[in-house]
Each structure stands twice: as structure tokens, then as C-alpha cells.
Amino acid sequence: MEVKRNVTDSQVTLEVSGEIEVYSLPDFTRMAESYVGGTQDLIIDLKDLEYIDSSGLGFLVTLHDRLERNGQHLKLVNMPMHVARVFTITRLDKILDISALEPSAG
């Protein structure tokens, strides 16, 4: 799993590629949690995400709750279809702010 970071005054974007699963999760949580308690919103770009397991899902919910408590917002963007499926089944699309990956033109 690799994470690319892009920081502005108002938001932090983390581009995740590969898999978020129990073994790669600690690195990801460390990075994401470092922004909790700050002033920026957190955007997680999932267009290159191949797979996420239940530990990863659980962490996203925790992250969402902790950010919200501090007045920050979590947004999951560019979610590919094969990943969107798991958010739909688990109904986490009702809790989290998710936007799908737009099909590329042409």
C-alpha cells in the first residue's frame, strides 16, 4: 500500500493505492490520525485502491467519528466500483461521505 499526501490550509488529501488490510493498516492509521484535532478536512482519494478489508472499514468509521467530533470532515472520493460494493453491503455508505469514481470520458 502506498499513500501520497497533498496538504493545503483547508484540507489534506491522501491518495491511497494498493490494499488497505490488517497488515498495511498501522502505517495508514498513523498518517491519517496525525490530522485529527487539526483544522483541515481530510479527503481520501481511493481511485487506485484495489481492496479494503474489515479492519480498514472499521478504521474509516473511527476516523470519521473522531474528525466529526472535532468539527473536521472526512470525505472518500473517486471510489472504484469494486470497492464501492463493500461499502454498500455494509451500509457504511449511510455513515460516510462517499463519491464514486467517474467513468473516464472516451
Binding site: V22, Y51, D53, S54, S55, L57, G58, F59, V61, T62, D65, R66, V86, I89, T90, R91, L92, K94, I95
Partner: protein, 541 residues
């Protein structure tokens, strides 16, 4: 063979005393071996790494000849210096020379002694040490070598400390071993802990002078304690050891009298230090392997307990046939299925998937199982049961982010109605209809444990005779092959279609076998579970 061993030892040491060079040593060793094995001819030679012979002695055998059996070949190495490969050939005069285990051991010891002899010869030739000094050096190395057999870490640390104190002829010292959680083991010999603390502090502050390799002198001449006692440090040496992370070890050797460390002594301590490091690492590795074995034993016990949690036989009332199968990804896992007949006579079944894997998931699973049984015994229907389970898991989960997906199915006492509720779980399939396996289009609620006071809608499901419900956890579609490609839902459905004639345990065996074939040598990526409920006769809708 004791005679042989001590004989060789005497020869080696005696010959070293008298020998002017190694040729004489080899000659004596060759004669001794030939005598012991009843051989007329012998050859002993050392080849260096390039294969060039640089030291040889033979009698009656042409070293280059190939028609005599090679008795023994070993590499001679000491303290990182490679002396080369030692070969010994004995001519049995047509008779086969028997190499027993004892003989092998004796020859191995001889090689070791020879390596030490070569080393001491080097000390004499290169460093101008006297024969006595060289012999002492070699004896010390041999004693250190014996410590390689000590596998108790604490005992070894004590013995190493005593060894270095004796070798240097000092008064006091301390040995410290640290690990992941800091200082692990401490051995002190005649040194108050307050004095040691001050010496260690001085070392940390860099009051050190390099001596050789990992030996440093501590440039502190006096230690003053709180009660105004003073200790003179005439000589304080720190020896550090090469160990694999996270371990580290150091030995402090202290004398009240001022003294210098001669080059010969420094050489000796450094040689012994290397062997001591090997001995310590061996003991630490041994301790770790014991710990691992104990851990594995615990995991096996945990696995057996969890296997007990899974129902041996599922109840099959009112013309229903239930079958389930579960495989943890690791020793133990977070998947679970169960079915019980409630006091009111209804059947209630559940398949659940705790987030995560391994021990943590398994422990949460066992807690959830207990609550399921408790709620089921209160005659709760699937939706109510999931709501109760949700609050229980939510309230008892101190750490955030853990949840349980579940599918709960209820069948009334008359066997007429099938009801189902979902909590973030994979959709349910109905098998046995003309169009093949079909996903039931039902809306579920959030996974259990995330948000309190959830409502889980119950759905009536039509299940006719010969039809079955197939429930699974995401371990099936998430199973990955050796290249990391996941099995997927489509393949699972295709497989169900292919085996439409099979039912219950047979069908589950088929599904799991297909998954095994698919994943090949790759490990199970997640806990994998499936549950089927088939209507065998009458009472439909």
C-alpha cells in the same frame, strides 16, 4: 576414543611447546592418527581458499593421489580468520577404514584443536607473543568455547562476566542484557549498583576511549556517591556485544588499581568477545524458540476451544436441513455460525463475521456468541435479536472501529414462515429455482457495534420444498490466488450453479474444495464461512 581425544590434545599442546613450526605439529598429528586407525600411510594438508596447498605433511601417500579414501575434511576457521580446508587421508592398505561416530567426533575435535594451534602459532609469529602467553590465550578461547553450550541466558551472562573478570585478573564487574522493554538481565560481581550507574552514565555521556573493536576504556577516575563514599577507578573497560535487535549486551570490567591493557590482552578479550556474542545470541534464540513453542501450544488450545464453539450438529426441525462450514484464516478467527431451537419452538440461525482476524477477532466472536445464545433464549425474532446484539457489542467495545456483520434467520415453530434480517452482511442467495442461484434483494442495517439503537428490518422469505438459502462471509469472494487475484462473487455463483444437484454438507465441501484449488499455495486471506438452510418437505410459504 577418550584416549584419542586426550592423546591428540596432548600431542597438539606438547608438540606446540616443542615444535618450532607447524610442519612438526602436522607430522606428529599424522603419526598419531595413523597409529590410532592402524594405517600405514597418512596425509594431512591444508588448502587455502584458492585451493592451493600451503601446509602439508604426508607419509606414504602422494597428496595429489586420488585412489585413497578421504577420511575427514573440515574448514578451519577461528575468530573470522579462515585457515582453509583441512583434509586428512589415511591409507587402509586395502582395508576399509571404519569411521564411527566417535571417530568423527574425535576428528572434529582434532580440527578444532588444530585451528587453535594455528591461531596461537600466528600469535607467536605475528605478534611476538611468548609460547606461554599464546597458550593462555588459546586456553581462554577454548574455555569460552565451552560456554557455547550454556543455553540459560541468565546463567550464561553470569558465567561470561566471571570469565572476563578472571581473564583480566580484575576485582569487579557487571554484565547487562537489554531487550525490547529495556534492561532485562543484570549480573553484578562485587560492584555496588550506585557505582555501576555512574559508570554507565559516564559511558552514555561519551567519556570513552577506544581500545580495540568493541572494547572501550571509560575515562572516569573516581565515583562519588551520595553518602560521600568515593571509589577510585584505576581501570574501567566496557565490552559491547553484537546481538540481533532488539537485544544488546555490555560487560563492565573494573579495577581499583590503575593498569594498562596490553595488545595481547586486547587481542584476547576481542577474540573471546566474538565467541561470547555467539553464545549469547544462541541462548537468546533458544529462549525465543521456547516462547514460540509455548505460544503455538496456546494457539492450538485456542483453536480446539473455538472448534468446540462451532456447533457439531445443527438442529434440523420441521423439514429443514441446516449445514455449516467455517475455516479460520489463522489459527483462530472471527467468523461464526450457529442455530438453536428457541423455547417457543422457533428455529433461529445466525452467520456472523467479526472485523479483523486472529486472536482479537476470535475473542470478540466468543463474546458475541454468548450474547446471541442469551438473546435467542428470550424468544427474540431476527430483527430484535440483531438490535439487541448491536447494543451489546456497541456498549462493551472500548476500542472504536470494531464491528460484526451478521445475517440472522428465523423459522417459526410450524415451519411455515422464514424471516431474515441483515446487519451489514453479504447478501443471501436462494438456490433451487429454475433461473439458478438468485440474490435476495433485501435492505439491511448497519454492521453491529458501530451505532447504538439501530433498527433491523425483518423480511419474509419464500422458501419452497427443494429450495435452499446460501449465506456466506466475505472470506469466499475475497479468497486470493497466488497472484493476488480475488475469487469474486461471480465465480462463487457459477460454482453454486455447477453443483446445483448437491446439497448441505456436500455442497459446502464442494465450495471449499473449489476455493482451495483456486487459492493454491496462497494463504487464506480471511476467515471463510458458509451456511445453508434447505427446505426438505412441505410447509412452504
Amino acid at each position: 576414543m577418550d584416549l584419542l581425544k586426550s592423546g591428540i590434545e596432548r600431542v597438539v599442546l606438547t608438540e606446540l611447546h616443542a615444535a618450532e613450526d607447524l610442519d612438526e605439529l602436522f607430522a606428529a598429528a599424522g603419526r598419531l592418527l595413523a597409529r590410532q586407525f592402524g594405517s600405514r600411510a597418512y596425509a594431512i594438508y591444508l588448502k587455502d581458499r584458492r585451493g592451493a596447498e600451503f601446509l602439508e605433511h604426508a607419509s606414504g601417500i602422494d597428496v595429489g593421489s586420488i585412489d585413497v579414501g578421504e577420511l575427514h575434511a573440515s574448514e578451519l576457521r577461528i575468530r573470522g580468520m579462515e585457515f582453509g580446508v583441512l583434509r586428512i587421508r589415511l591409507d587402509g592398505d586395502g582395508r576399509e577404514l571404519l569411521l564411527t561416530d566417535e571417530a568423527r567426533m574425535a576428528l572434529a575435535e582434532f580440527s578444532e584443536h588444530l585451528a587453535l594451534a594455528l591461531y596461537s602459532q600466528k600469535l607467536i609469529e605475528d605478534q611476538g607473543q611468548t609460547i606461554d602467553a599464546a597458550l593462555n590465550h588459546v586456553q581462554a578461547l577454548k574455555s569460552m568455547g565451552e560456554l557455547l553450550g550454556e543455553l540459560d541466558v541468565e546463567m550464561l551472562l553470569n558465567r561470561l562476566l566471571k570469565f572476563f573478570i578472571d581473564v583480566l585478573g580484575v576485582d569487579v564487574g557487571a554484565a547487562l542484557l537489554s531487550g525490547e522493554t529495556g534492561l532485562q538481565t543484570e549480573a553484578r560481581w562485587g560492584i555496588p549498583s550506585e557505582v555501576l550507574e555512574q559508570i554507565r552514565l559516564a559511558a552514555r555521556e561519551g567519556k570513552l576511549e577506544p581500545v580495540e573493536g568493541n572494547l572501550q576504556r571509560i575515562t572516569l577516575s573516581e565515583v562519588e556517591l551520595d553518602d560521600e563514599r568515593r571509589f577510585t577507578l584505576g581501570f574501567a573497560l566496557r565490552i559491547t556485544f553484537d546481538l540481533k535487535s532488539p537485544h544488546g549486551a555490555e560487560i563492565y570490567i573494573v579495577s581499583g588499581h590503575s593498569r594498562e591493557l596490553s595488545p595481547a590482552e586486547a587481542e584476547l578479550v576481542e577474540s573471546c568477545r566474538i565467541v561470547a556474542g555467539i553464545a549469547l545470541q544462541k541462548a537468546l534464540d533458544f529462549k525465543e524458540s521456547i516462547r514460540q513453542n509455548r505460544l503455538n501450544e496456546q494457539l492450538i488450545i485456542a483453536r480446539d476451544i473455538q472448534a468446540d464453539f462451532m456447533p457439531d450438529e445443527l438442529p434440523c426441525p420441521k423439514g429443514l436441513r441446516l449445514a455449516g462450514k467455517s475455516l479460520p484464516a489463522l489459527y483462530v478467527g472471527g467468523d461464526y455460525y450457529d442455530a438453536i431451537v428457541q423455547p417457543c419452538g422457533s428455529l433461529i440461525a445466525i452467520i456472523a463475521d467479526v472485523s479483523g482476524k486472529g486472536i482479537q477477532a476470535a475473542m470478540r466472536m466468543s463474546a458475541a456468541r454468548a450474547v446471541f445464545h442469551s438473546l435467542a433464549s428470550q424468544d427474540l425474532k431476527p430483527g430484535e435479536l440483531l438490535a439487541g446484539l448491536n447494543n451489546s457489542i456497541h456498549d462493551t467495545s472500548k476500542q472504536m472501529g470494531h464491528f460484526v456483520t451478521a445475517c440472522c434467520i428465523g423459522m417459526d415453530a410450524e415451519g411455515l414462515e422464514v424471516h431474515l434480517a441483515l446487519a451489514g452482511h453479504e447478501p443471501v442467495l436462494r438456490l433451487g429455482r429454475e433461473g439458478g442461484p438468485e440474490f435476495l434483494d433485501l435492505v439491511g442495517g448497519l454492521p453491529l457495534g458501530l451505532r447504538r439503537d439501530q433498527v433491523y428490518e425483518e423480511f419474509h422469505v419464500e422458501l419452497r420444498e427443494g429450495e435452499a438459502l446460501f449465506m456466506y462471509t466475505d472470506g469466499i469472494p475475497d479468497a486470493a490466488d497466488e497472484t493476488g487475484v480475488r475469487y469474486g462473487v461471480e465465480k462463487m455463483v457459477e460454482n453454486l450453479e455447477r453443483h446445483a444437484d448437491k446439497k448441505d454438507e456436500e455442497l459446502l465441501e464442494e465450495m471449499f474444495e473449489e476455493l482451495e484449488k483456486y487459492k493454491g499455495e496462497a494463504p487464506w486471506s480471511d476467515d471463510t464461512t458458509a451456511l445453508t438452510i434447505e427446505r426438505r418437505d412441505g410447509g412452504s410459504i
